[in-house]
């Protein structure tokens, strides 16, 4: 798993009161996929990112944009 952990996604999901399985079911993927996205082990397509954002009522910037250090 070479990617960066997506803590913002995890926080947004928990704030929405959803488990990984709930979010997975809502966006049409498996729980493992959500787990891997949060752990930085899978780079989702733009379509999936948008679907996740819509379900969590967030923008792409909120969940997936990384500011340069």
């Amino acid at each position: 798993m070479g990617g960066t952990k997506n803590v913002r996604l995890k926080v947004a999901r928990v704030e929405s009161g959803l488990s990984q399985a709930d979010l997975a079911s809502a966006v049409g993927v498996t729980r493992q996929t959500i787990g891997l996205i949060e752990a930085g082990g899978y780079n989702p397509t733009l379509n999936l990112c948008i679907t996740i954002c819509k379900v969590l009522n967030k923008t792409l910037n909120d969940l997936f944009w990384e500011e340069r250090e």
Binding site: G28, V29, T30, T33, T45, L48
Partner: protein
Amino acid sequence: MSIKEFVKRHQGMRDERIVAETNKIYKKGFLALTFGLLVFFTYDTMRSQVAFVNGLSDTVEVSLSLMILYAWLFVVVLACALASTLKGFVDDGRFAETDYFPAGYFALWSFCAALGSGFAVALLRALAEFELVGASGIMWAADAVLGFSFSILIFLACYANFYLAFRAAKRRRETLALRFED
């Protein structure tokens, strides 16, 4: 409702990660299967020739079922090459969609293919000789010459194929670009 739509509806949504992972697995499987079949066909051809040369067989025979398998492999590999050319690329590396033909890059690939296949042909020929006439019947020099000649042929065939496929893919890219232009 078409059969395709019916199956799709019953399958439900497909996880893009699983689809991607499955594709990767099947890609490796396809390459391994193709490699294995090529080794098998080469060995089978060498074995038939060695048997004929050493008077163990009157003819170099290839059964109909093997010919069908040969043809099927050829058609499948050609279809894959054509499909990628129609999409506008012949390679998935950094030269996939360049405007100029990357001569050195494709020369290197052709050389690797030629080297590998030349060695394989020589070794499989020697193995076939060992199987049919024993260690004393292995003609190392002749096998090496055969492998070398084959590698030159493969190099030229690969390079010409890369060049023609690159040109076709480039033309295809231009057509696609026109289609998607504003």
